[in-house]
Amino acid sequence: MARQTFTGGDRHLILTGADGYIGSQLVARARAQGWSITVLSRRPEGPQDQVRKVPWVLGAPLPPTALHPTVPAARQVLVHLAHDWSDTKPGPAEGTLNLEGTRVLLDACRAAGLGRFVFVSSQSARADAANVYGRVKWRIEQLLQGDSEVSARVGLVYGGPPRAMFGLLSKLTARLPVLPMIDPWREVQPIHLDEVCEGLLRLAAGTGGGWSGLAGPSGLPFGTFLRSLAQELHGRRLRILPIPLRFALLACDILGRLPVGPKPDRERILGLAGTRPMNCEAHLRALDLTVAPLTEQLRREPASRRAMLAEGRALLAYVLRSRPGRPLLARYVRAVDGAGPLPLSGLLRRVPRLLRLVEPRTAGAPLAQRLALAMALAEASPEGERALTKGSRATSLAILAYDVALDVVLLPLRIATAGRVGRGH
C-alpha cells in the first residue's frame, strides 16, 4: 500500500533499490528535477517519508499501485537498482534470484506498457566476468530488448555519503597507513555519484536500447584512485602494498573463518581483479554528460573540507602558537582555493608544534607554501596581533633568542626530512 500520494510533474519514475548508495541519491536528484517518484521497497517504513513507497521484494511483479494513475504509461520509467547481495554462490545456479527477480519485474513492466526500463548494471558485466556479480549483471542484460530497455554499465562510483564500496574505501584510506592491494595498476574508471545519478536520469528520460557506459572516460590505476581518496578526503599519504591475487583470496578465506576482524568480500576482490577498460566516451557524449576529474570532485566532498580545516587548524596553530579562531580558519581554507589538503600525518595535526622538525627549507615545497599562507593570514588577524604583541621587549627578545637557537639545533633534522612531509603523490 502506498504511504504517500503522488507528487511532481508529468514524468513518473519507479525505482527499486532506492535505499542504497546510488538509489537514495537518485531519489533526491529526481525529485529536484521535478520527477514524480514511487519507490518499490522491502521497507516501506523507511526514512524517506517524502517519497511515495509501495511494498515490493525482488522476485515479485510490478505492483499495480506503483503506476501513476494519470501519467500515461509511456511516460513512466522504471529504474532497476535493486540487487540481492546474498546471491553470490558460484555455480550453475548462481544469480538465479537476481536474474529471475528481474525477469518477473521486466515482464510486468512490458505488460503494463511502461515507457522505459533502465537496468543499472556494472562495468564488470561480462559473460566471463571473474565474479558472480559481473556474470549475473551480464545475464540480466541479455533479457533486455528493443529501444525502450537499456542497461547502464556503471564504473567505480565515489563521492557522496560514505556507503557501499566508496564508504569502505574511504574508511580504509582514512585509517590504514599501508593498504595491501591486488593489482594496484589495474585501471578503473571512477565516476562521481552525482554524475551517475544524472546519467541515469538522462537515460530514463531518453530513448534507445542496448547498454550505455556511465564511467570516467579515461582510466586511472586503482592505486592512484586510492591514494587520491587518502589525500583529497583525509589529507593523508597512503602506501600501497601490491599483493598477488591468490594470496588475497587465501587471506580472504582465512579472515572469513576467524570469529573477529575484517571480512573482505571475495566478490569485490574478484570484481576488481576482473575489471576491463570500457570505452564510454561516445555514450557520455550522447547523454551530454561531463565526468569531472577525480581530484576536482573529491575536493568538493565534505570530507575534503574537513581535512582542509584540520590542516588549517594545525598550520595556523603552529604559526600562532595558539588556537586559531573560526574566521581565520575559514579564510585559510578559502585562500587555499580548492587546491585540496596536503598529506599530513595525524600526529602532526594533533601536535602542530612538531611541524618545526619537518618544516621544509625551500620556499617552493608545498608545505612551505601553505605555511607562508598561514603566516600571512595569521599576521593579518586579531589573534596574530595578540601573539605578536605579547610580553615585554626583554622577554620577547629572550624568547626569540631561544627560538633562533633552537631553530639552528633543529636544522639538521629539517635538512634530513628535506621537504618530504606534505608532499603529494
Binding site: Y318, V319, D337, A363, A372, M375, S381, E385
Partner: protein
C-alpha cells in the same frame, strides 16, 4: 574655429603637457583608456588601527584574498587591493608579450601615478648630460610642476616646524642624525628625500598625517596622482576629457595629425592641431612603430637595473612599532661608481610593511620568522639601488602588421650591471655601517628587468634615425605628432625619472607655444583670464 591639441593619456606626462596649453588658451582633448570601474578606495585610519582591525585581511589582501598569491613577489606593494586592481591585465590589454621583463602599467585615469612611489627628484647637470638642451631650459618647468603637484622634503622629527607632512621614522632619523655628525665615505651622499606628498591641505587633497598606509593607497590624497588634477583641468572651458577612449592607431603622415580611437567598441577619428603622445613609453612606442609600418630593428628600451638590500639599527630591535609612520622613500642616497657612473636609491623604513614581506626572507622556521620580523621591523632600513639606464639592455619590437601586431619586449641588463649593483651595495653598506645601520648579510636581491617601472628612451630627443625625435619630441616623418612621455628621454640616469618626465612634457608644451606651433582657440582666449588665475 581652431582645432584642439589631442593628448593621448592622462598620466603625469599628459596632465603636465595640458596645463601650459590650457593656460595659454589652447583647446585640449585628453583621451585615456580608463575602464568604467573605478579603482578601489584606500583603507581609512592609520597603520595602528589597521593592525588591530579584525578586517585587516581584507584591506591587506583584498576581499578575494587575491593579494596572497602575489606574496613574495618583487614588492609587498603588489599584494595590495589598489595596486592589484590598478595593474591588472595591463600587458595583455595593450598587447605586449614580455620575456624576462616586467611590464607595469595602469589604464585608469592617472595611469601609473595611481600607485607610484612619489619620489620627486630633479635631474642635475650630470644627469642631463645626454640631453640636447641646457638644464636651464628645463628648470622653469621643474619649478612649475613642483608648485602644481606639491612636493615636500621629509621632516626631521626634532623640528617642530610642521605639524603635518611626512616625517622620518626612528631608524632613518638615527641614520640622518649620524650623518650630521660623521663623515661619509668618499663618493656617498645622503639627504632627506623629496616626495610628491602634500604638507598642507589644498585642491581637495589632504595633508600627510603620517598614517603609515602609503602602501595601500593614500586616503588623504596627499600622495600625488595625476588623476587628482583632472577636475581642475575640467575647470577650463576649452578642455575635454574623454575617459574610456583608447588610441588604436595614429593617422598617416598624409592626413592631418590625429588618432583613431575606440570608445565602447565604436571607432572614430580624432584630428587636431597636434597629437601629444603621453600614454607611457611602451604604448607610445607601440603607436609610433605601428605607424612607421616599415622593417625596424629592435629598439632599445631603457630601464633602471634595480636591486634591494636591508640594514639593521641594532638598538631598535624589539622596540614597539611606531604608531605613525611614512612608508615612502625617506632618505635619498647617491653612490659614485669607479667607472664614473652613479647609483642612486632611496632608504625606507619597514615598520609599516606587512611582516610577511620581511619574514619571507628569514631562514628560520615560520613561527620564528614571523616573530623575528616583528622584532626587526622597527629597526630595519630597506634600500633600493638603481643604476643608470645605460646598464639595461632591453629591446622592444613590433611583430606582425597593423594594429593586431604584438609588441615584444626582451628584458636584459649589461654584464656590468650586476657588478655595478654589487659595488654600489658594498659602498652603501660601508657608509650605512658608519651611520649605525649594518647591512644584513645576503640581503642584496636583484629585481627582474622592468621591475623599476621606469620605461624610457625609445624615441630619444636628439637621437638619430627614424625613431629619434627633435627637441619637442616630434618625429620628422610624422608631422604634428609629438611624444611627451618617458619615451623621449634622451638618457635615463639612476635618479627617479617621473618628475623629469612631467617637467619635460611641460617644457615641450611651452616650446610648442613659444614657437607658435600650437595656437589658442578664439573662444578659449576669452576664457583664459578666468582659468589662469590658478
Amino acid at each position: 574655429m581652431t582645432e584642439p591639441v589631442i593628448i593621448v593619456g592622462s598620466g603625469p606626462a599628459g596632465v603636465s603637457a595640458a596645463w601650459p596649453l590650457l593656460q595659454a588658451g589652447v583647446a585640449v582633448v585628453m583621451i585615456d583608456a580608463s575602464p568604467a570601474d573605478p579603482l578601489p578606495s584606500p583603507p581609512p585610519g592609520d597603520i595602528t588601527a589597521l593592525r588591530s582591525d579584525p578586517n585587516r585581511w581584507s584591506a591587506q589582501f583584498g576581499a578575494d584574498l587575491g593579494g596572497l598569491a602575489a606574496m613574495g613577489d618583487i614588492s609587498p606593494k603588489l599584494t595590495t587591493p589598489l595596486t592589484r586592481a590598478a595593474l591588472a591585465g595591463y600587458a595583455e590589454s595593450i598587447g605586449v608579450s614580455a620575456q624576462d621583463f616586467l611590464v607595469f602599467g595602469c589604464l585608469s585615469a592617472g595611469g601609473l601615478s595611481n600607485v607610484w612611489g612619489a619620489v620627486a627628484a630633479v635631474y642635475d647637470e650630470d644627469d642631463l648630460r645626454g640631453f640636447p638642451f641646457p638644464r636651464s631650459e628645463l628648470m622653469p618647468s621643474y619649478e612649475f610642476v613642483k608648485r602644481r603637484i606639491g612636493v615636500s622634503v621629509l621632516d626631521d622629527q626634532s623640528k617642530a616646524s610642521h605639524t603635518h607632512g611626512p616625517k622620518l621614522t626612528p631608524p632613518l632619523q638615527r641614520v640622518l642624525d649620524a650623518a650630521g655628525k660623521r663623515t661619509l665615505p668618499a663618493g656617498v651622499e645622503l639627504e632627506a628625500a623629496t616626495n610628491a606628498v602634500l604638507m598642507e591641505q589644498r585642491d581637495g587633497r589632504g595633508a600627510c598625517v603620517n598614517c603609515g598606509l602609503c602602501l595601500w593607497g593614500c586616503h588623504q590624497g596627499s600622495i600625488y596622482a595625476s588623476s587628482q588634477e583632472i577636475p581642475a583641468l575640467r575647470g577650463f572651458p576649452h578642455f575635454t576629457h574623454r575617459p574610456g577612449a583608447r588610441a588604436r592607431r595614429l593617422l598617416p603622415a598624409a592626413d592631418r595629425p590625429g588618432v583613431e580611437v575606440e570608445e565602447r567598441g565604436v571607432r572614430s577619428t580624432l584630428t587636431g592641431q597636434r597629437v601629444l603622445l603621453a600614454c607611457g613609453a611602451i604604448p607610445t612606442t607601440a603607436l609610433v612603430l605601428q605607424r612607421l609600418n616599415a622593417p625596424c630593428p629592435p629598439v632599445r628600451l631603457l630601464t633602471n637595473p634595480v636591486a634591494a638590500m636591508a640594514f639593521l639599527v641594532p638598538s631598535l630591535v624589539g622596540a614597539s612599532l611606531p604608531h605613525r609612520s611614512f612608508a615612502l622613500g625617506q632618505l635619498a642616497y647617491r653612490v659614485s661608481l669607479t667607472d664614473g657612473h652613479r647609483a642612486e636609491g632611496m632608504l625606507y623604513g619597514a615598520d609599516a610593511l606587512p611582516l610577511a614581506a620581511v619574514a619571507h626572507r628569514l631562514p628560520v622556521s615560520r613561527p620564528v620568522a614571523l616573530r623575528l620580523s616583528r622584532a626587526l621591523a622597527p629597526a630595519l632600513v630597506l634600500a633600493t639601488c638603481y643604476l643608470p639606464g645605460s646598464f639595461s639592455a632591453n629591446t622592444i619590437r613590433l611583430v606582425g602588421d597593423g594594429e593586431h601586431a604584438e609588441l615584444v619586449i626582451a628584458g636584459a641588463r649589461t654584464e656590468a650591471a650586476d657588478g655595478g649593483l654589487r659595488a654600489a651595495g658594498r659602498t652603501l653598506g660601508r657608509a650605512m655601517a658608519r651611520l649605525g645601520a649594518y647591512p644584513l648579510p645576503g640581503s642584496l636581491a636583484f629585481s627582474p628587468a622592468g621591475a623599476d617601472g621606469h620605461y624610457a628612451g625609445t624615441l630619444p630627443m636628439g637621437g638619430a634615425g627614424l625613431l629619434g625625435t627633435d627637441l619637442s619630441g616630434g618625429l620628422a616623418w610624422l608631422p604634428g605628432v609629438h611624444a611627451v612621455d618617458g619615451a623621449v628621454l634622451s638618457d635615463l640616469p639612476a635618479k627617479h625619472c617621473t618628475l623629469t618626465i612631467m617637467a619635460n612634457a611641460d617644457r615641450i608644451a611651452r616650446r610648442l607655444l613659444d614657437e607658435g606651433r600650437v595656437v589658442a582657440t578664439d573662444a578659449a582666449v576669452d576664457a583664459r583670464s578666468v582659468a589662469t588665475k590658478r
